[in-house]
Structures are given as C-alpha cells and as structure tokens.
Point group: C2
C-alpha cells in the first residue's frame, strides 16, 4: 500500500512558500497518497486534514508562482496537549509521514511532535522544509523566502531613496523600517544597490547592535549636511538604547508583533534636529510581493520541496532540508539535511559581526540570492544642498 | 541662433517622470540649446539653471528607466514675487522656452508664470508635460505615472490580501491605505486583480464618498464572517464622517501631507469588533517602485515628452500635452494639447460616480494603463472560518 503523507504550511507566508509545496506534491503525487493540513498546526489539532484528490492537486499546482500559503498557514501555540491530540488525528488518518514548511518555530514544534510520536510508539516519519524571510534559521546557508524579501528591501529602499533625493526642499529624512525580528539580514540587504556615498541608504541599523540616540542624531545631521537628505533603514527589532525594550505594535495570542521603531526615530529627528522626517514601515509586501521575486529564490524554494519528497521516499526522518552554497561567485547550491533537533536547539541565527562590519562582504554573499540581474542605477549627481538655506 | 529651452520637474516624482524628461531632451538635443532647472520652481527662483552639455545629457538619458526626478523636484510655493524674480533669471539666460513636467499645482503655476511673462512683454514660450500618480489632472484621459501607481496598488493589495487569507487564525483584518489625495482613482484600482468574492479587497473606500462608521463596521463584520478575513482599502483622503476633516500626517510649508486614516479605522475595528486588525500605509513605493512599472505607462511617459518637444518646435505656447484613448479594448492612444489655463481652472479631477458604482467598467478603463499582461491568481478556495471558533 502506498505511503500516506500529510503536508502543511506554517508561520508567515512568503512570496515562494507555495513553490516549495508544489515541488513537494509534484514529486510525490504518483508515489504516495497525499493529504493537506489546513491552517498550519491549528488544522492538525482540529483535524482539518483532507486527502488531496486530482482536483485539489491541480489547484495547489496552480500556485507555483503565487505568494501566500494556499493551504492556509497561521500562528498557533502547539502545546504538548495539542500535539498529543494532533497525533491521534494523524493516526486515525493512518498517516505515515508528516511534512511541514516553516521557520524556527515550525521546526521546533515539528521536533517536539516527533518526540511525542516516538513516546507513544507511533512510527511517524517527520520532515521539515525551511522557509523564512528573516533568514534566521540555523544549519542552512539561507532559506527560501529570504532572497525575494531581500530583493524587495534592496529595491524598495533604493527607489524610495531616489524619490527622497528629488524632494529635498520638502522633506529631508526618511526612516524605513524592515522586517527581520531579532536578526539584521533583511535590514542589511537594503544597501545592496547603493551606488556611491551620495546614494541611499545612508545609515542602516540592525538589531544585533543597539542604537545610541546621540550617535543616531549625529549621523542623521551629518548625512543631511553632506547630501541634503538622509535615507535611514532600521530593523523592526532594534532597540534605541540598552535599557529599552523592542518597540511592539501589538501582542496577539502571546506573540509580539514588532513594529513602530521608525516612528519613534521620526519624532526624535523632528524634535531634536527640526527637519522634516517621515517614517515608513515597508510592511507585508516584503514577504508577499509577487512583483519582486528573486528567480534564484523561486528555484530553490521549488527544489527544497523536491528534496523533502526524496527524503520521504528514502525513509529519512526527524530532519530538515538544508541548502549549501558552492561559492559567492559562479554561485551554485546543493541540498542536504540536518536533524530537526539541531535546528530547534540552534534557535535564531543572527547576522555575524564580520558581515555587519563589512557590508561589501555581505553583499557578495547576498547578490546570488537576491538576483544577479539587479542593475545599479546611475550615480546621484551632487546638487546644491537646499537644507542649509532654510 | 538655436532656441534656448529650459526644462524642469516639479511635485512628487513618479516611476516614469524621468522617461518624459528623456523623451523631451532626446527629441530636442540636436535642434535647440537645452538648460536644466534643478529642484523644480525653487531652482527657477534661485537661478539654479544650468546648460545641459553632452555629459549632463548623457547622465539624464541614463535615467530613462529610473524612478525619481533626476533634475530634482520638490514642492515650492510659487508666489507672484517669486515668479517675477524667476522671469528675470530666465531672461538673463536668454531662455526662449520653459517646459515643466508636473501635476495640477505645477500647471497652475506655469500658467501664472506665462501670464506674468506676457505682462512684462517677455516673449516666453511655455509648455507643460502632464505627470501625476493621483490621476487628478483634468483635460487628459489620464496622465503618466498613474498607470504604474495603479499597477502597484492592484498587485500589492492582491498580494497582501493573499498573505492575510493564509493568516486568518492570527489576524483577520488588514486596512491598506493608498495615495490619491482627494480623488479615488488609485484606491479603486486596488480591485483590478480580485478574483471572485472570496478574494480581496473586500471593501474599498474612495474620498469621493464619506465613510459612515456604522456601515464600515457592519461591512467588516460581514466580510470576516463570510470569508474569515477582510482586506479593506481606504484612500488617504477619505473622511470618516461628514463632520470630520481628512486625517493629516503632517503639515510642511503650509502643505498638508495626508495619512493615517487606516490607523483610525484599525483602532475602530479592534475596539468595536474585537478582532485583530493591522493598518498599513502602502507608502512611497506607490509612486517609486521600479519593479512595478506598467510598460504602457513607461511608453506614454516617454511619448508625452516627445510631443512636448514637437510643440516647442511648432511654436505652440501656454499648452499642456494631453492623452486621448481610442477605446478600452485594443487600446491605442494619441496625443493632443490644451490650454494651461483650462487645466488650471479645471482643478482636481475626481473619480466619476458612474465608475465608483460600476467597478467592472472602471477596470475595463484601467486595464490597458496598468498592464494587460497582469494575470489573475487562482481562485481562493473556501476554507473553514476560523474566526467564529475564537
């Protein structure tokens, strides 16, 4: 009898998470019986599990180039009790294999579920497919979703900075807030397309470093004096000084939504420097934009789905697919896997000091993921500084 | 002796305003002596006018596909006194022709300048090139910049809605705020790619209509009940009831920056309906995004620049280039011109009632401008409503 394999998506969607799902189901649909788990771990707990017939498989496959998570994703506290009940549902469906696409939280939960299954002698095969826009998953060079988000941040910041450059008599400072939670991979990507020091972003803050208000204001003042305008990038997870907390937008079901630090900095600039500043949160488009997908990211997302399918067929269990890179130049990638336990223990991966201190080294690492095709804009021509005249 | 022609850019930049500049200078550079006016009308008043040599022309032409205004733009109150001083500068440079690329404010100012020139018997030829993302310029079917901005709004809202659709157990409502000032062309564009009633945006508010809080809350409640989530679009210029003012983000040099109504509605939804809502301002990317340019818009922006060059050579004056369309299907456009005075008198153009009440008719009108190539996403598959269970 064919294996019975259930697949779900969890956590924040990305521009390419559906590509991983499609890669997975396309590779397996002739070999096993496939089941969809709807709305992430909540669907597992609530037995929202459905056999994927030809019609459903066709509908899923039509999402290869579509952002969002077509099975439904979500955030859900996966307590031991909920895991135990979920295992009963899976058992009733005679599921042999459970595969989830997700980030740190998803992998930790998947590991816990595998442990609980072993505990009750349920021979459940468990495989994880990596996904994150924050790039904070350990044990993999990077994860699908990040390349497209980084491309979004790099182009959006470059474009908004060029817009600001033209509007210097009206506003001098824009503070652009990126996703990334506690890690600075996305925020640091904002400088990828900067062409010369007159071009923005002029200053970038990552959560791995504390923002010192005095330095911040001095940096902004200096940029406005030198260039007539200042494009500042700040990660949502930055702290303004070592005593302060991260700025929270909301708290939903015990999970903090970060957001709003750009507004705090906007006020500081307006009050202390007396120049017009505008905070802007780059928002959900960072993980959703269908127009700014990195082709490499799209390909890799599909391939990690296929690789997970191969692990299923080879009988591997308790593992997450990982990506290795050959080199930064003439980039190629290969895939491997690592124990879910190691990923769970690894926790969040931060942007290393060496890359924070050497942005060019970071851009070399990033370029193949965000898109080698990205062309730099012409240089910004130095103009008369209008700000000093006011 | 060759004509001496000065060109400037004014108002908020767009993704394609530089294409108009390039179309203009490419067409004229062999025929006339070209001068650049930096930073819009402020540069005119402060004599920031420079002859465009081969190097500068080359640099300008490298901006054909680059967003922002490479000559510098800006907002500037162009008082009669400032206009008079500007005319003295132009006279000193022996400028025969002044051309500005801009929107309503720019055209009104250009008309005033032409009047003042006539008053002092300065035989100055004056031509306007239309540009606006708000599409509120009268006398032209539409203006360059709008098609790309509409494409941005349509794709961003569609993408963010698909993301929300997958996150229903975590958040149920997103309120997305668009540009457009007092007119609803951009906000209404958000529905262009909606595929069936389960898909977002579920509700769209344009400034031409007042939002009634009771209706708003009832609509949101109904959408969340029916679909499990609600994607709401609101134009920055909407008023919440007939007594209230528009929501202002800031006031700079006497000019109001609208912004923040989505935040007001977010609070209302959270407080009155008790569901998780997130406001998001689509922001500067609407007018800046290099990744979401409509090819048709790009072509038309270039062509209105070329048409302005022809008007210069034909000795026309006091006119703005306009665009006419043949038909919505098998769309082609032609160009004409109209008196600046008529544009100035026409003021802001609003979204007509007929198009507000018949979105499909509006989408037919819009599709050739935003991009015939935009493909609809697969339909949203009805899932169990999670919200009711909470």
């Amino acid at each position: 009898m064919a294996k019975r394999v259930a697949i779900g998506q969890a956590g924040g969607p990305t521009a390419v998470i559906n590509a991983s799902l499609v890669g997975f189901v396309e590779t397996l649909q002739q070999e096993v019986e496939l089941f969809g788990v709807y709305n992430g771990y909540q669907g597992l707990y609530e037995n929202d599990i459905e056999k994927l017939d030809a019609e459903l498989l066709g509908w899923i496959k039509s999402h290869r180039y579509v952002n969002g998570a077509c099975l439904g994703s979500g955030r859900y506290e996966f307590t031991t009790e909920r895991i135990q009940k979920s295992l009963l549902h899976l058992k009733k469906h005679c599921i042999d294999t459970l595969v989830f696409i997700g980030g740190n939280g998803t992998m930790a939960a998947l590991h816990k579920l595998a442990e609980e299954a072993r505990h009750i002698h349920y021979d459940l095969q468990v495989i994880g497919i990596p996904k994150t826009v924050d790039n904070d998953l350990s044990e993999t060079d990077h994860a699908p979703g990040f390349g497209s988000a980084a491309r979004y941040v790099a182009t959006a910041v470059r474009d908004i900075s060029r817009d600001l450059c033209a509007m210097q008599n009206f506003e001098q400072v824009r503070i652009l807030e990126t996703m990334g939670r506690n890690s600075g991979w996305l925020a640091a990507a904002s400088g990828l397309l900067r062409n010369g020091k007159d071009d923005g972003p002029h200053i970038v803050y990552v959560p791995e470093r504390i923002i010192e208000p005095e330095h911040f204001l001095a940096n902004v003042r200096e940029a406005v004096r030198s260039f007539g305008y200042a494009t500042i990038v700040v990660a949502e997870g930055c702290k303004i000084n070592s005593f302060s907390d991260q700025v929270e937008k909301a708290n939903v079901q015990g999970r903090t939504i970060l957001g709003g630090i750009s507004g705090v900095l906007e006020k500081m600039v307006k009050t202390e420097l007396g120049v017009m500043a505008r905070a802007e949160i780059l928002g959900m488009n960072q993980r959703s934009s269908s127009a700014v997908i990195s082709k490499q990211d799209q390909v890799e997302a599909f391939e990690v789905g296929r690789e997970a399918a191969r692990l299923v067929l080879h009988g591997e269990t308790g593992r997450m697919v990982t990506i290795q890179r050959s080199a930064n130049i003439d980039y190629t990638f290969s895939m491997n896997s690592c124990p879910l336990q190691v990923v769970a223990k690894g926790g969040e991966r931060f942007l290393p000091d060496a890359l924070i201190d050497d942005p060019e080294a970071y851009y070399k690492w990033l370029r193949p993921l965000a898109g080698e095709d990205l062309q730099p804009y012409p240089t910004v021509r130095k103009r008369r500084i209008l700000y000093e005249k006011q």
